[in-house]
Symmetry: C2
């Protein structure tokens, strides 16, 4: 038996072929019985089916096998055409149409793969930290005061008292170094900033860590370099199907270039002609230039 979503259907003279997707991938099903072909006749893709049948070797099928259906139960019938062609290799609707129908659009193979890859990357991050003795923590998201400066906070109505959404677990993770020495958290953080910049989203999942007994920030930078390297190595093993669906090749993580603030300002001057040597911080454009320079 296989249970899943109808993804494609072709009706030939005396036989129908359809594909059904479950969490393990897609299978091809062959239907010859006239009664079963009638059941399928009115169904749109994304209908949910339960299929009993025989698995038969078929070299022309992508998986090397196909299922000859003996019984089909329609668990949930989709009778109207979906708002866009969900089975095309590339999902093409305009962004607003896409967002309006996200519950359907997220079923597109490229979206499914991206979400599965996110989960695998987080799992690899946790595993790499676990090997180093880090303990996972769970810190409050409704807080009484700002954690990083006073700006960009979302106020929450907390029983008539002022409260805010946490911008970062910074203070809590520092406290928890006193308890566990090495800690990490994977949780949402909240920034009340405009979306249309290269900075923060209003809400995103932050991969945080904090550790005691280091010499300085260079130890943390080296750790982050190692983590990225191990995360890429891990998903290369666990996420072959998702990477293939997305058509992406994983980068080899090099020793990430380290420059001082003064050196960065010099690069910006030498390579991009802007004198930022008296600025107290880098602008988003400076960060883009430095990224471009480092990627060469």
């Amino acid at each position: 038996m296989i249970q899943g979503w109808l993804t494609t259907r072709r009706d030939l003279g005396a036989v129908s072929f359809f594909a059904i997707r479950d969490r393990s991938g897609e299978a091809q099903v062959v239907v010859e019985d006239e009664r079963l072909r009638e059941i399928l006749a009115g169904l749109q893709v994304q209908s949910v089916l339960s299929v009993h049948g025989d698995v038969v070797a078929e070299p022309r099928a992508r998986s090397g096998v196909e299922i000859h259906a003996r019984e089909i139960d329609v668990l949930s019938a989709v009778t109207e055409p979906p708002p866009f062609e969900i089975n095309r290799p590339v999902l093409k609707p305009a962004l607003d149409v896409w967002l309006e129908r996200a519950p359907i659009a997220l079923r597109h193979e490229s979206k499914r793969a991206a979400l599965a890859l996110t989960a695998s990357l987080v799992a690899a991050y946790r595993a790499a930290l676990d090997r180093r003795g880090f303990v996972e923590i769970f810190t409050p998201k409704i807080v009484g005061a700002a954690t990083e400066g006073g700006a960009n906070l979302f106020p929450v109505e907390y029983f008539g008292r002022p409260a805010f959404l946490a911008q970062s677990p910074q203070m809590y993770k520092q406290i928890m170094v006193g308890v566990h020495e090495r800690v990490f958290e994977v949780a949402p953080v909240f920034r009340a900033e405009p979306h249309a910049t290269t900075r923060h989203l209003n809400e995103y999942i932050s991969l945080d860590l904090e550790l005691g007994f280091i010499q300085d920030h260079r130890d943390v930078m080296a750790l982050v370099n190692e983590l990225l390297d191990e995360m890429m190595a891990e998903i290369a093993i666990t996420s072959g199907r998702d990477l293939a669906s997305l058509g992406v090749t994983l980068p080899a993580v090099p020793d990430i270039p380290v420059v001082t603030f003064q050196e960065a300002q010099q690069v910006i001057l030498d390579e991009y002609g802007e004198d930022a040597r008296h600025e107290p911080d880098l602008s988003p454009q400076h960060e883009r230039w430095l990224g471009e320079w480092a990627a060469r």
Copy 2:
């Protein structure tokens, strides 16, 4: 070298003993050098130290070894006595004192162990679901409308538009069954309810899951029973030190008794003498009684 927190100190005639705690546990250190004994003299417990020395077998030490100090660096000196005796087996301050000084109190062995156990339970939950093909999801916490009824929501000021903190990932996880078939999330949820009840906290970490292709709720109940069983089995292996610190024995997870709503009402009548047979729901007291009855 060992780096960690000074937990106890005893000064005898010509020698000092102290214990130092890092993430792996506690070690006993012996100091004979007069210069090093002077460094220690003014320090309160929770001072942060870096100790170079020789590891020597010592059957009388709890770990079977002790460290003979050759050099001690004080990384962070605590000079005032802590607000309560952090090294006592039981932490005794009143709740308000405890909460006021939580960053120190959380370093108590019983608190450290409880937090480490939480992390291990979550890891075991994820591992058990991973074995069953569940995919982790990360859903929005700022939402435009209530997910479970309209009450008990925390309003958020979202750029002048109404928004709320999510009470549950319910809608999102149902959507994601269409994408991954089996999904789970470990994330905060928010309930604007009074704290002083046996129901929800305002903010807690919810272990959520959702799966497709089940017969009915009994499949979910059986899965939850299995998960609890596997979580207990896992932490029995991984968390021996934490369980010992807390002095707790893990329950064997039995087949959790299943009763219908009518049967539950009958139990309440027969065992506790209250006729709730015409009520539409169970009260917290009813739930306590049923728990008591099931635990027999």
